[in-house]
């Protein structure tokens, strides 16, 4: 297990193909630097991410999980992001149930034009998770 | 010094072990029955919505789930401040009585019966229901069938016979249709016929053979606890508590005042607590000079009630009292009393099924959560069962206290085991048959150790400690 000094959090990110993944690409194109702790998994829609993936990740050692989708109203599939938002509340409740700190999970809206915002979100989240220390499921 | 181990105690609801230590002369020094587990229902029910408890506490016991279910539902009624409609209450009563029937058959024929039917000295491999079925296929088949009829009736009436779900705060969730009633009635009649057969069979073929045993085995003198109707008639679903002293005098109280009458004593060598009548003085299990000890279950109920509400049962009660007096103290008479209760319940079931209100549609009133305390009590096969809940304003449980049938009998079982062992094992002589008789003393109480260990886990390991005459611990043997 990583000790506090060298702790590099592992954050799993689900990014929707149409907005956030494009936003992440844009951050790259614009060279906005952010910490290298995020592993992006491309999904078609934030509404596609089954909370089981989130809980599984967090209970199998991820230090943080991020779901990124289109801003409300901009979903490529009408309202998949609204479904994701509804599930977010359920996920937050389940974090309680699994004894996982709420800061380890985030749902963020990042549009295809928000490269800087994407970088900012990752910076913030990485620091927040780093401050928490390693996941208690990491043993 | 020698140690005898009977492990596990078989043909009871749960498992136990008896260890008997003999002193140098081969006589019994001392025995203790220890229960070594805790399940923690009283802890893990806290925080649950109170209306869910009837569906959680059933798992305290799979043999008598209905009684936990109903005590819990009754406590719920009080918590929510409602009274179930008459049909709802009658459906609960009906299910309780059917469950009683199955339970009596189970215990008498399948658990305790083989001792009497096959004989305590018969070979262990045939001394069981399978043995009975092979030796006497007709009876075996009847036993299996009639016990199962109870389950089938409950399946029809409530959908789920074991760990039921239909008793709900404010009544019952499923009405009984006329079609279902018509399906159940012949089954109930068959069970009544079997009940009549069973008591006749036992009186003719079983009890006479064991009159000696009845008089000697596990005989202790205690008080009794059971519930009765206002007029003193036996009442299983909704009576008041009657606490009888060994001399036959008694006190009555509404069961929601149980905390004033019953205390629970802790011994350092067992997780199972010892309820006792705290108004009678301090707790003591001294065989010669016991204190606070009372018993529950069939014999207790037969002793405390003045009469029984159904004709055949009343006749049997009168016959029983004529033979053994009131209160009868002989432990093995639990088995006799059990069959009288079987007759009563079989009759009561038919009575209820013929009640026109039983197929009514008003079965339930809706309820609204509130902060309250509710105590529910029924007579379970193994004794007076008390569920005591407290809730917050959302109806979530904040406190639970449970006292269940077998727990009441914790002290008496310990005492009976010791008495039996002392009486039978002399000069180091014992055999399989004698040891089985020690077990018979336990079986008579029909101890449901799963119930008793609601506080711990469901298995019923028992440990016997052997102490010398000065009470010093010489040896302990546990079955775990």
């Amino acid at each position: 297990m990583a000790d506090e000094e060298t702790f590099e959090p592992v954050i799993v990110g689900f990014c929707c193909n149409w907005c956030s993944y494009a936003g992440a690409d844009l951050a790259g194109v614009s060279r906005y630097q952010y910490p290298p702790n995020l592993r992006i998994i491309r999904v078609m829609c934030s509404g596609m991410v089954h909370p089981n993936l989130v809980i599984d990740a967090l209970t199998k050692g991820a230090d943080g999980v991020l779901i990124c989708g289109c801003h409300i109203g901009d979903c490529h599939y009408l309202d998949g992001n609204v479904k994701a938002e509804n599930r977010k509340e359920a996920i937050e409740l389940m974090l309680e149930d699994f004894g996982i700190e709420p800061e380890r999970f985030r749902l963020e809206w990042v549009s295809a034009s928000e490269g800087p915002r994407f970088a900012e979100v990752i910076r913030e989240m990485t620091e927040a998770v780093r401050a928490l220390g390693p996941s208690m499921y990491k043993v | 010094m020698k140690t005898i181990t009977i492990a596990p105690v078989t043909r009871i609801e749960g498992h136990a072990k008896v260890t008997i230590n003999l002193d140098d002369s081969g006589n019994v020094a001392d025995t203790f029955v220890n229960v070594v587990e805790l399940r923690g229902f009283e802890k893990f029910c806290i925080g649950r919505p109170v209306e869910e408890l009837p569906r959680i506490v059933t798992s305290i016991c799979g043999v008598c789930p209905w009684h936990h279910h109903l005590a819990s539902a009754k406590a719920n009624d009080v918590v929510f401040g409602v009274t179930p409609p008459p049909t709802g209450a009658k459906l609960r009563d009906l299910c309780q009585s059917i469950a009683f029937c199955s339970d009596k058959i189970l215990h008498f024929f399948i658990l305790a019966g083989p001792d009497f039917v096959m004989g305590p000295d018969s070979d262990y491999s045939v001394r069981n229901v399978i043995g009975i079925a092979q030796a006497n296929p007709e009876i075996g088949k009847k036993v299996i069938r009639n016990r199962h009829l109870g389950t089938q009736m409950l399946n029809i009436i409530s959908g789920k016979a074991i760990h039921p779900v239909t008793a709900v705060p404010g009544g019952f969730s499923k009405p009984l249709t006329e079609a279902e009633r018509e399906k159940v009635v012949p089954m109930a009649n068959e069970v009544l016929e079997f009940a009549k057969f069973a008591i006749a069979f036992a009186k003719e073929n079983v009890f006479p053979k064991y009159l000696d045993a009845i008089k000697t085995l596990g005989v202790i003198e205690t008080g009794f606890l059971g519930t009765v109707a206002e007029d003193g008639t036996l009442e299983l679903y909704d009576g008041k508590a009657r606490l009888m002293k060994p001399d036959g005098s008694y006190e009555e109280f509404p069961y929601d005042q149980y905390t004033e009458y019953i205390g629970e004593h802790i011994e350092p060598w067992t997780y199972l607590k010892f309820p006792y009548a705290k108004k009678w003085g301090d707790f003591s299990m001294d065989l010669d000079n016991p204190s606070g000890i009372y018993r529950t279950n069939t014999l207790a109920r037969i002793n405390v009630c003045d009469k029984m509400a159904t004709p055949l049962a009343q006749a049997e009660l009168e016959e029983f009292r004529a033979s053994f007096g009131r209160p009868a103290q002989q432990t093995l008479l639990y088995n006799y009393a059990r069959l009288i209760e079987l007759v009563y319940n079989a009759e009561h079931v038919i009575e209820l099924l013929n009640d026109p209100e039983i197929t009514g549609k008003e079965i339930r009133v809706p309820v609204t959560p509130r902060a309250a305390r509710g105590i529910g009590c029924v007579e379970a096969p193994r004794g007076t069962l008390i569920h005591d809940y407290e809730t917050d304003e959302n109806g979530l449980i904040t406190n639970v206290n449970l006292i269940v049938g077998t727990t009441h009998n914790n002290a008496p079982i310990n005492m009976s085991v010791k008495q039996t062992a002392k009486a039978l094992i002399k000069d180091g002589n014992y055999d399989q048959g004698i040891l089985n008789r020690v077990e018979m003393a336990i079986r008579a109480y029909d101890p449901c150790l799963s119930c008793a260990t609601h506080k711990l886990d469901g298995s019923v390991p028992v440990k016997v400690e052997v102490r010398d005459a000065r009470g010093k611990l010489i040896d302990t043997i546990a079955n775990w």
Binding site: V29, S30, Q33, I41, G47, L53, Y77, S113 | -
Partner: protein, 1083 residues
């Protein structure tokens, strides 16, 4: 061929061309050496000495500047030895002492662990690196600046310390200076004029070679020849030294292509009104006065402040922002409404408040023209969020020169004159026809109107005066996005009808080899890792990633390529597929969003199913964002490849489904919208069933006798005739659709006529079921025959009713049934309808007093001139407020109408002979009935809900169903017609094909797991899932069926299902789960 030299740097061997420097060799290895005076397009100089390295030779070692030292055969170099670091640290310490305020130096020093120099600070920002003088000399060929003096007096200077007459003011010196020490204004005689970004509305600078904006397509750089020094002076050419791909082509010429076309659609858009023309508003004088488009950039995350709301003068939060509406609209010289400013200002205020919740937003306006669908609700939401609306047009803006705050003086609701101060003022600038349209119009021979917008034919919103030339968007008149999109589709539809015979003649098909069968075969994965020039290879250790990939399960081949997307690499991939029998391909390079199609195509060309391809995005999402952490970037690249391999192993070949399309259409509703759509489709050669529930065609238009643009009845008559005569149109009068089966491409609808049902097959549906007039319950309507609706009033006008003649005074009341609690929307057309009728009556009987009681006059776009006209000829407009509605009482054959005039701040009573009500447009029952049949959603006002409010205004979420006319929302007849053509155009995109290709990445039901619990039914945004039952082994099996034509593969069902009963191909839970697990592994 160039001679190659091998040397060793930090224990790694590298081969470079003879003449290369050690620095270049290190770069090739991806070893970072800090530099300051080095510049790729300038000659090596060796001034700053931060690029020092240690050279090991037989006789010992020496420290040398790597940027000038030429590589030698067998040279051994250390870039990170203690000696190097120590010397480099010393160099930086000296530099830091020299320029302690230069951010770049401070950062470099900090990276070396130096916070404070031990030497005395000199506060001279010039580090004498010579970049400025060299670029001026070497690249610009000018030498306007140079070093003067020697030793400690050495400095950069202009000869004789005067402004240089030869300086071209190109600014190259300021760009290359690492310490920002060059002040161009001291060098050049001319005033430096930075090149500003058009995309950022002049808020930020750009260079002369630039990518127009981050999401540009194609996303390639272009050279601005008007500012590029190479094109102006034949100098510089620096950029070509930086482009690894060698893509800079200074010889490229504009090309002229000639196309033969049969129709033209003109959509040159609009130009922003130049707010500088309103000097009183201070646009170019005051830094904190912005145009609305500039403010859009400020709000944007990709804008100058990354989405933070800051003002220009001090980059601080403005605190209070004011919007001034109608800047360049609704004026004498510009007598039209720009249509969009009210809503965009409201949107900007809401978003600004989202970015900074305590921001104070005030909008100064004349009338709130929230006439569009959902606009009033949005307006109300803004008010709810605390946006202040002040009905006043401020005459000027004044700046406080100290604070740079802006003062606005205005008249408050109660008439009081107030002055308020704002941190920022946004001018809601209007829309103008683009300057070049006159030339365009002349070329095509089309007419323009007095404002310069394209003139269209009456009742034909996209047709110009020239046949075959169509217009759409704000070129025809100011309009919002939905109308623009509708017109675009309408223009296309018109063109399609014209060109029906030529359809599909220009299509070519590509042939692919047969697909190899990979079923049941163990995955054999090939991984191709891309250097992308230096984009990836310059940061991550690509060979390391390749070696790692080889260790992953099922990977049988891994290699690296300089550019994986290059044509020769594509050929290589195909060869490797054949040589190694690869059945899964992974390319670790850039984003699948840009390159997946290319590689998929390569797979297909190699006979591999294209869905057996996966990408690892190690550039955009790794090396580009972790440029300064090469080790971490390498590690992350390994991780991303491992994740891709985990998924790749579970990939399955997929086939795109196809669906035969029935080429007939069903149009429900025989009003002007339905008929227009039907005619267009029929003209395109498709058979159309037109279903109308009334006895005659025409719908609401039957009741309309005059329009601002003339008499519509003639047009109606000709349209009906055309419908009835058209061989492709089958009219079903007095009929309704009673049952529907199927989906896009293959609908079966039952048309019920007089109790008889007839089933018709069709590929698309256009819903044009219209709307109804609200039956007022207020203002004595229905109780007094002289209280009438505008529609009846119009009837009277057309019949010249005697009652009209007698009327000395007529009061019109607006918003009857609109914009209230029950119907919180604007009926859009009532303002112009009332004004039209007022003008007619006023012109007929100038002595009659006509009053219009209104809440906002919403004569958007070019309708504004009629409002002006009405006022000019004496129609009286009195505003009332929602909570003080007018009261009408009848007395002795006339009415007394009282209301409260907020301008006079006093009650007003008018005697009137007629009261005319502007009754709302309300959705009828038909809407919800048809909606249920085709599973269409309604919005909260019970009109049909489009797939996207702005971008898909005629589409439903359900494929193959389109809408037009009033069923969508209240709108004018021209707008209905445009939308009808648009619907036909959209429908034709389906009907014109014989089969539709369906996406392969759609959902699939696992019948074994699904038990029809129904959780997925409602969440599906496309109604693609249906519960079904069938008999299985004697039991009823419940399950769900997916309509492949409707499913879009969003996966909401997959994330809902509690039992893995449905999945999205290529995004299965198991695949995503494997990716998560791979992400959590280390390796």
């Amino acid at each position: 061929m160039q001679k190659m030299i091998t040397l060793t740097i930090d224990n790694k061997k590298v081969e470079v061309e003879e003449g290369s420097t050690v620095l270049q060799a290190a770069e090739k290895l991806g070893i970072k050496i800090p530099t300051l005076c080095h510049h790729r397009s300038l000659l090596p100089y060796g001034a700053c000495r931060v690029c020092l390295v240690e050279l090991k030779k037989s006789w010992g070692s020496s420290i040398q500047a790597s940027c000038v030292y030429a590589a030698e055969e067998g040279l051994v170099v250390r870039t990170d030895s203690e000696r190097v670091l120590k010397t480099r640290r010393m160099m930086l310490e000296l530099l830091l002492a020299r320029c302690p305020d230069s951010p770049r130096i401070v950062e470099m020093a900090r990276e070396m662990g130096i916070e404070e120099p031990r030497f005395q600070k000199k506060n001279d920002n010039c580090i004498l690196c010579g970049l400025c003088t060299r670029v001026c000399e070497e690249r610009m060929g000018v030498g306007a600046i140079s070093f003067v003096n020697r030793g400690s007096e050495r400095k950069v200077a202009v000869p004789y310390d005067k402004h240089s007459p030869i300086c071209m003011t190109c600014g190259a010196c300021t760009v290359v200076c690492p310490t920002n020490d060059v002040d161009l204004s001291k060098v050049s005689l001319n005033k430096p004029r930075p090149v500003m970004s058009d995309y950022d509305m002049g808020l930020v600078q750009r260079s002369s070679i630039y990518i127009p904006f981050a999401q540009a397509i194609p996303k390639v750089a272009l050279i601005d020849k008007t500012t590029c020094m190479h094109f102006l002076n034949d100098t510089c050419k620096s950029c070509e030294n930086f482009c690894e791909a060698g893509a800079i082509d200074y010889e490229q010429q504009d090309e002229i292509e000639e196309l033969d076309v049969g129709a033209v659609v003109l959509s040159p858009g609009f130009e922003q009104f130049d707010p500088d023309l309103k000097k009183e508003l201070g646009y170019s004088r005051y830094s904190n006065v912005l145009s609305s488009l500039q403010f859009e950039r400020i709000l944007s995350a990709s804008g100058p402040y990354l989405g933070k709301v800051l003002r220009i003068s001090d980059e601080k939060a403005p605190g209070k922002i004011a919007w001034i509406q109608c800047v360049g609209s609704r004026e004498v010289e510009c007598n039209y409404c720009s249509s969009v400013c009210c809503m965009y200002a409201t949107k900007e205020a809401i978003i600004a408040k989202e970015h900074a919740p305590d921001l104070d937003c005030t909008i100064f306006f004349i009338d709130m023209r929230a006439y569009g669908k959902g606009f009033d609700a949005y307006y109300e939401r803004a008010k709810g969020l605390g946006v202040k609306y002040i009905r006043c047009r401020p005459s000027s803006v004044k700046e406080d020169s100290k604070t740079k705050n802006l003062k606005i003086t205005y008249q408050a609701a109660d008439g009081e004159i107030l002055t308020d101060e704002f941190g920022m003022v946004v001018l809601s600038t209007g829309l103008r026809p683009p300057a070049e349209v006159r030339e365009l119009a002349d070329k095509f021979g089309i007419e323009l109107d007095q404002h310069g917008f394209a003139a269209t034919l009456p009742m034909a919103p996209v047709e110009t005066s020239k046949a075959g030339v169509y217009v759409c968007g704000p070129f025809a008149s100011p309009k919002d996005i939905p109308e623009t999109v509708m017109e675009a589709s309408a223009g296309a539809a018109k063109a399609m009808a014209l060109l029906t015979e030529q359809r599909n003649t220009l299509i070519t098909h590509k042939e692919y080899p047969p697909e190899m069968d990979v079923a049941g075969k163990e995955p054999r994965i090939g991984v191709f890792v891309c250097h992308c020039g230096r984009n990836i290879g310059g940061v991550a250790d690509v060979p390391n990633v390749v070696e790692y990939a080889k260790t992953l399960p099922n990977v049988v081949y891994a290699a690296h390529n300089l550019y994986t997307c290059s044509t020769d690499t594509q050929d290589n991939i195909k060869e490797m597929i054949a040589e190694h029998d690869l059945n899964r391909i992974i390319v670790a390079s850039c984003s699948p969003r840009t390159h997946e199609p290319l590689f998929r195509n390569t797979c297909r060309e190699a006979g591999l199913n294209e869905y057996l391809f996966e990408m690892a995005n190690i550039r955009d999402q790794c090396t580009w964002v972790h440029m300064h952490q090469p080790e971490m970037a390498t590690q992350k690249s390994r991780d991303l490849v491992r994740i891709a391999v985990a998924k790749s192993r579970m990939l399955e070949p997929l086939k795109k489904g196809t669906l035969k399309v029935n080429n007939d259409a069903l149009v429900i509703g025989g009003g002007i919208a339905g008929m227009t759509a039907a005619i267009n489709l029929a003209d395109q050669g498709f058979k159309v069933h037109l279903v109308e529930n009334q006895e005659q065609l025409g719908g609401n238009l039957n009741h309309i006798h005059s329009l601002l643009s003339g008499d519509p009845q003639q047009k109606l008559k000709s349209t009906i005739e055309k419908v009835n005569a058209h061989p492709n149109i089958d009219v079903h009068l007095k009929s309704i659709v009673s049952a529907v089966d199927g989906s896009v491409g293959n609908f079966k609808s039952t048309i019920q006529h007089n109790g008889d049902g007839k089933q018709v097959s069709h590929g698309v549906v256009i819903v044009a079921t219209g709307a109804e007039q609200y039956e007022p319950t207020e203002y004595l309507y229905g109780k007094n025959p002289r209280v009438l609706t505008q529609r009846t009033f119009e009837q009277w006008l057309s019949e010249d009713k005697a009652e009209l003649k007698k009327a000395k005074s007529i009061v019109m009341i607006q918003c009857v049934g609109s914009r209230d609690e029950d119907r919180p929307y604007c009926s859009r057309v009532c303002c112009s309808e009332a004004i039209k009728n007022a003008i007619v009556i006023k012109k007929k009987q100038p002595e009659t007093d006509v009053y219009i009681l209104y809440r906002d006059i919403r004569t958007y776009g070019l309708l504004e001139e009629y409002y002006t006209e009405a006022r000019r000829i004496g129609v009286r407009f009195i505003r009332y407020e929602e909570d003080k509605k007018p009261e009408v009482s009848a007395n002795n054959g006339s009415f007394s109408v009282s209301c409260f005039d907020p301008v006079l701040n006093a009650p007003v009573t008018i005697n009137s002979d007629l009261v005319v009500l502007a009754a709302a447009i309300v959705p009828g029952e038909t809407l919800s009935e048809v909606g249920k049949l085709y599973k269409l959603s309604l919005n909260q006002d019970k009109f049909f809900l489009e797939a996207h409010m702005k971008l898909k205004p005629v589409d439903f979420a359900t494929d193959g169903v389109f809408m037009c006319g009033l069923a969508h929302c209240p709108k004018s007849i021209e707008e209905s017609i445009a939308q009808a053509d648009a619907a036909a155009g959209r429908a034709a995109t389906i009907l014109s094909k014989d089969e539709i290709e369906l996406d392969a990445n759609i959902s699939e039901i696992v019948d074994d797991n699904c038990d029809g619990c129904a959780y997925c039914i409602d969440p599906c945004p496309y109604n693609a899932l249906t519960l079904i039952e069938y008999m299985l082994k004697g039991d009823i099996k419940k399950t769900v069926e997916r309509d492949a034509a409707l499913c879009k593969g969003c996966g909401v069902c997959q994330a809902t299902c509690p039992k893995k009963g449905v999945f999205i191909r290529s995004f299965k839970l198991e695949q995503l789960g494997a990716m998560v697990e791979a992400a959590l592994e280390t390796g």
